[in-house]
């Protein structure tokens, strides 16, 4: 099979592990695959462990699928890996898979706030508002605020 014409960039994703990167590509072009490959490369190279990794996606569905794909890919690479050092890293990652964060940007932010409620001055049991509740609360706040201005 001929190599895709953006192969250089695909290689960079799994090789340039110390550089931050923005990948923009069309649907079905293999972004998730590249992301999983980069995550595996980071672990294999010992640059990162799963508990220090966060994979943020747009939807909850994408996050769940990504987690599943990462698990399967990790199991595959662990089976195939011959380098003892890398194999050990993959094994650790497999046993610590529950420590990996995959989720939406909302859940990532919610987690930060729940872990730092004192600094954020927020109740860690907070719930995200539904749209309708938001409207009611906004009206109440406005009424209270304007009342405060008068009193």
């Amino acid at each position: 099979m001929p190599k895709p014409n953006d192969q250089t960039y695909r290689d960079m994703i799994v090789q340039e592990l110390d550089a931050s990167m923005l990948v923009e590509a069309g649907a079905g072009s293999g972004k998730t695959t590249s992301l999983v490959d980069r995550m595996l490369a980071l672990i294999g190279a010992g640059k990162c462990t799963v508990d220090k990794m966060a994979a943020v996606t747009f939807t909850r569905k994408a996050a769940a699928e990504l987690k599943g794909r990462f698990q399967i890919a990790l199991e595959d690479i662990f089976r195939q890996e011959t380098d003892e050092e890398k194999k050990a890293r993959y094994q650790t990652a497999l046993s610590e898979l529950n420590l990996l964060f995959t989720g939406t940007i909302h859940s990532f932010c919610a987690r930060l706030l729940r872990e730092r409620p004192v600094e954020a001055r927020i109740d860690p049991d907070f719930e995200e508002l539904e749209e309708e509740e938001n409207a009611i609360l906004r009206d109440q706040c406005w009424a209270e605020y304007t009342e405060g201005l008068v009193c």
Binding site: D51, R60, K61, A64, E65, K67, G68, Q71, I72, E75, D76, R79, E96, L97, N98, L99, F101, R111, R114, E115, R116, P117, V118, R121, I122, D123, P124, D125, F126, D139, Q140, A143, E144, T146, E147, V150, C151
Partner: protein, 1037 residues
């Protein structure tokens, strides 16, 4: 081969070896100990001299008597929370609050975290001296935690209290100071549950060097978590010789090493559409397999929502269930009643909560009003609603007394009119209102505060709640009694908590949080009952059939979340006694693996693959993929393979005839059965009638389902009956005959509760009544003084009258806030100014004569001229009808000529100069013109003639506009009235033909609105001759 349940095997060995020696086994809970004892006897044989205990139970036994002698009381976690809250409040009040936790006292979740931290540190055996500030990212945080810990410990000591950690520490000290009481005793501990450092210390001290650690079935490939006791002798992988798929679950975390599957069906997997279907599917499987219900244990990964779903579904199917963790107290009548009682107070005595206390049948008032017959609970709730209380403690007496007076005054009028029976009925309603008032008085006597902002102590709140539960709360059945007793017990304990005062609102919120989280009815497995446990405390029943629910990625093993106060990096520096977030997740995984590999018989593992509320897909936990790999032999199978293996998810429709749980499921199962078939329609008569109604509505002809009341023919004809009509009702008929029928013929009205709307004080009707009264009083006063309106001279007068009326309404309808009140009062002032300026101009050419002239309206506060009898309006020489109403204003414009005006206090939308009857929707100007002529000719002016009528819009919204209607089209009016009466006579009340008409209608839910009923009417108006009168009405411009 080893017995797969290693715990039972180890226990049996010890029981056999030391049959007559005293044996003590430390277990995580008495319930688990009880289950183990039963399972041991059932599977292995009889045993004696074996006693199960928990760490806290043992400590209590050891030092309980001493504590009691010293007057020291053991507190629970609720009280720890309240003490921490108290300490923070005191610190804040005395400016001793540190900078890191400054403001935390106002955030309940952070206070809860602090209480957990204090408890955790103490259970870990860490004192203030063990907490190094430099171990923390923010040293200030450590200093403040240490200070809090110090203060907390001092508080306990000063106030004669001890917490669980203190109890265990005291037991350890006692053991250190005394000789072993029973050196012959065999001390054992289970190795399959987590323990905190001081708990382990106590067990080690009791057991000494000979402590026996009872092994458990070890999952292959997982290390025993650090908080568990580790047995010296390990169970080796090669010792396990599986003979069934269920035994392969030992390799759940290392499926690649597992032996090949047996395919014997001892492990099954399924997924379902939503948790409720997951629960139903469990019961379907129990039913279709003919399992004995008390040989089944259901394990859940989350208590919420599974416990409530299982409780609800099993109750509806009459399947007896025992819940190891009990059921939420809010499932019982006292639990729900207490929540309403607290919320009633917390939300400034909002009457909706008291209504629910009555209508839900939560109150038992025999004890306090035994000699009186009160209204039914529903009626009592209706009285509270009718009183228009809204909110505010003081308003109850005012409004209920006002309602009582209203009934009594109606009774007088009835009696004057010779309607004795109706008079007695009104008196009965007055008596019932008085009864409700007395009940409310009694209820309020248990509450000390006037408003949620008032300062109270926790003791006052708790004592009030205990009185409520004891004297007012209805108890029906065993569970209710248990719940009430438990709540009274907890509240009495909490009443002894520290007594710093705070706002009632805050104290009530805390009490709602504490009591709503309680559960009751904790039970061991019982004969005849299916048992339900959380997986962490389950799997000990020894039952043959296990269902594990909730194995989706979100629920199991749970989200990784660090403790918000002592982060993982800080915990690591404090030593191994505090678990890290990752360790807690590992523990979850270990525990479920341990439970699964200790099961015998068969197991079903499941998850919900869809969130039905949020309409989104859910994904399986990795543990399910492992189980799939084990039982399918596909060691490299992925999630797609798993989904394929699972097939169709269980849904609302059962897939087997024999698994239908009730008749609804059976009917759903009959997929090939036509919905409209004879068997369906015979079994469900209402469906048959519904089909008939649908067909009728879909047809081109008017039917009884469209509002054709053939049988009513003539019964509603105003020309034959003696009933007076009002203009507004006739106009409503023209707008939508169907809504008219429901409202005025059937008498159905939507319930209107007085609820707090932060942006509104008076509704349009109330505002209109207020303004009409002001206009009437003002114009009457001017007329009595023989003065013409003058802006400078009279603006003060009209404002004074206006403000008097505003004050009257303020008593009836409480403003939600001063701001809203001020805004509406300002709008009323503007309206009065517009009115006055307009009247100044108008009265230079006309003479105002009568104001609020009413006819045929029997009661009410009336400020104008009153004619008791309705006016008889002749349609022709033979026919007439009676009209009642109230004319806002009659002005003399010339010799014997008059104008009739109607005040409209809203906007002028829908009113225009051109046109006369507006499709029958504007009749008032024409009918009042005739009524005025009749009344004036009878009384003041034999030649009276109304030349013009109109509508006056004095509000800022209406911009002082006047819309005039020349009264020269009487014939057209009478023809239209003929069409109105034909609708009545023929009993035709279809829905409106006007799409916009449904926008503000209260009855859209009944007819389906513009998408349903309006479409049918439009079609039928074209096709059916019976609709001719409505068609003609539509044509009146």
């Amino acid at each position: 081969m080893l017995n797969m349940n290693q715990t039972i095997q180890d226990l049996w060995k010890i029981c056999e070896a030391y049959r007559f020696r005293d044996k003590l086994l430390f277990v995580p809970s008495y319930s688990i100990g009880h289950q183990l004892g039963e399972d041991l006897a059932r599977k292995m044989g009889s045993w004696i001299n074996l006693r199960m205990t928990t760490v806290a139970g043992f400590a209590q036994e050891l030092v309980g008597t001493d504590l009691s002698k010293e007057g020291i009381r053991l507190i629970d976690s609720h009280e720890i929370l309240l003490i921490i809250e108290e300490i923070l409040e005191k610190d804040a009040a005395s400016d001793r609050m540190g900078v890191y936790f400054e403001g935390a006292k106002d955030i309940p979740g952070i206070i809860r975290c602090l209480a957990n931290t204090i408890n955790e540190l103490r259970m870990a055996g860490l004192g203030p001296e063990d907490i190094e500030p430099k171990s923390f990212l923010v040293p200030q945080k450590a200093q403040e935690i240490v200070s809090l810990l110090d203060t907390y410990e001092a508080f306990l000591s000063e106030t004669g209290r001890i917490d669980r950690a203190g109890l265990i520490i005291k037991a350890i000290q006692t053991l250190q100071d005394s000789k072993p009481s029973n050196p012959e005793r065999i001390v054992m501990v289970l190795s399959d549950f987590p323990l905190m450092a001081i708990e382990k210390n106590l067990i080690r001290m009791v057991g000494g060097e000979d402590l026996q650690i009872v092994r458990h079935s070890r999952p292959v490939g997982l290390d025993v978590p650090t908080r568990f006791f580790k047995a010296d002798k390990k169970v080796k992988e090669e010792d396990i010789e599986p003979k069934a798929d269920i035994q392969l679950l030992s390799w759940l975390n290392a499926p690649q090493n597992a032996p090949l599957p047996f395919g014997d069906g001892t492990v099954t997997l399924f997924h379902a559409l939503g948790e409720s279907n997951e629960v139903r599917e469990v019961f379907r499987r129990i039913l279709s397999r003919g399992l004995t219900t008390d040989d089944v244990e259901i394990l859940v990964t989350k208590t919420d929502p599974y416990v409530s779903l299982i409780h609800e579904i099993a109750s509806s199917l009459d399947i007896p269930i025992t819940f190891s963790a009990g059921i939420p107290i809010t499932y019982t009548r006292p639990g729900r009643a207490l929540m309403l009682y607290f919320k009633w107070q917390a939300e400034n005595f909002a009457s909706q909560y008291l209504q629910r206390l009555f209508s839900g049948g939560y109150l038992d008032l025999n004890g306090i009003l035994s000699d009186e017959d009160g209204p039914s609970p529903g009626k009592a709730a209706a009285i509270i609603r009718d009183a228009g209380i809204g909110w505010g403690r003081k308003r109850y007496a005012d409004r209920l007394e006002a309602l009582e007076k209203q009934y009594l005054s109606k009774a007088d009028v009835r009696r004057e009119n010779g309607e004795e029976e109706k008079a007695q009925w009104e008196e009965k309603k007055a008596a019932q209102t008085r009864w409700v008032l007395r009940v409310v008085d009694h209820l309020l006597s248990s509450i000390s505060q006037e408003t949620p902002e008032e300062t109270v102590t926790l003791e006052q709140v708790c004592r009030g709640a205990v009185t409520f539960l004891d004297k007012f709360c209805r108890v029906a059945g065993e569970m209710d009694a248990v719940a009430r007793n438990r709540l009274m017990e907890v509240l009495s304990e909490l009443a002894q908590s520290p007594g710093i005062a705070g706002t009632a609102g805050d104290k009530l919120k805390r009490m709602i949080e504490i009591t709503s989280g309680m559960s009751i009815g904790h039970s061991n497995p019982k004969p005849g009952h299916t048992h339900v446990s959380h997986y962490c405390s389950g799997g000990y029943s020894g039952r043959s059939h296990t269902f594990v629910l909730g194995l989706d990625q979100a629920k199991f093993p749970g989200a990784l979340l660090q403790d918000p106060l002592i982060l993982d990096s800080e915990r690591t520096k404090l030593g191994p006694a505090l678990p890290l977030s990752g360790q807690l997740l590992d523990e979850n995984l270990y525990v479920i693996s341990k439970v699964l590999c200790s099961l015998e018989g068969d197991v079903s593992m499941s998850y919900s693959c869809r969130d039905l509320l949020e309409e989104r897909e859910l994904f399986p936990s990795s543990i399910l993929l492992s189980a799939y790999r084990l039982i399918n032999g596909d060691r490299e199978g992925n999630y797609r393979d798993l989904r394929q293996f699972l097939g169709q998810p269980a849904g609302f429709v059962p897939i087997k005839n024999e698994s239908c749980l009730n008749d609804t499921e059976w009917w759903l199962f009959q997929k090939d059965l036509n919905y409209g078939s004879d068997s369906v329609l015979t079994s469900y008569g209402h469906l048959g009638e519904g089909e008939q109604a649908e067909a009728g509505r879909e047809s081109d002809l008017l039917t009884e389902y469209d509002g054709w009341l053939e049988s009513f023919k003539g019964a509603l004809d105003p020309l034959k009956s003696n009933r007076a009509m009002s203009c507004s009702r006739l106009e409503e008929l023209a707008k939508c005959p169907f809504a008219f029928f429901i409202h005025h013929v059937l008498g159905i009205e939507p319930l209107e509760d007085l609820e707090k709307d932060p942006g509104r004080w008076l509704d349009p009707l109330q505002r209109g009544t207020l303004l009409h009264d002001v206009f009437c009083f003002f114009m009457t006063e001017l007329k009595s003084k023989n003065e013409l309106p003058d802006f400078q001279k009279h603006v003060g007068l009209i404002e004074r009258i206006g403000m008097e009326e505003v004050e009257k309404w303020k008593k009836t309808v409480p403003p939600p806030s001063e701001l809203t009140f001020d805004r509406e009062v300002e709008d009323i002032r503007l309206t009065l100014e517009i009115f006055l300026r307009n009247e100044v101009r108008r009265c230079s050419t006309v003479t105002p004569e009568w104001f609020e002239l009413s006819f045929g309206i029997s009661w009410g506060d009336q400020c104008g001229e009153v004619f008791k009898e309705p006016v008889e309006i002749p349609l022709n020489e033979r026919q007439s009808f009676k009209l009642s109403g109230r004319i806002d204003r009659i002005d003399r414009v010339g010799d014997h000529t008059y104008e009739v005006w109607d005040y409209k206090t809203g906007g002028s939308f829908g009113f225009k100069e051109e046109g006369y009857l507006n499709q029958g929707r504007h009749l008032q100007h024409a009918l009042y013109a005739i009524a005025t002529e009749i009344l004036l000719r009878k009384t003041y002016d034999e030649k009276a003639q109304v030349v013009r009528s109109g509508y006056f819009f004095p509000s800022p919204k209406g911009e002082g506009q006047r819309i005039v209607k020349i009264q020269s089209r009487r014939e057209e009016l009478f023809t239209a009235m003929g069409d109105f009466f034909e609708l009545f006579r023929t009993g035709i009340f279809p829905a409106t033909y006007d799409k916009g008409g449904c926008r503000f209608c209260d009855y859209v839910k009944v007819c389906g609105g513009e998408e349903v009923a309006v479409k049918h009417t439009v079609r039928k108006m074209r096709q059916d001759e019976k609709m001719a009168p409505l068609r003609r009405l539509k044509d009146y411009a």
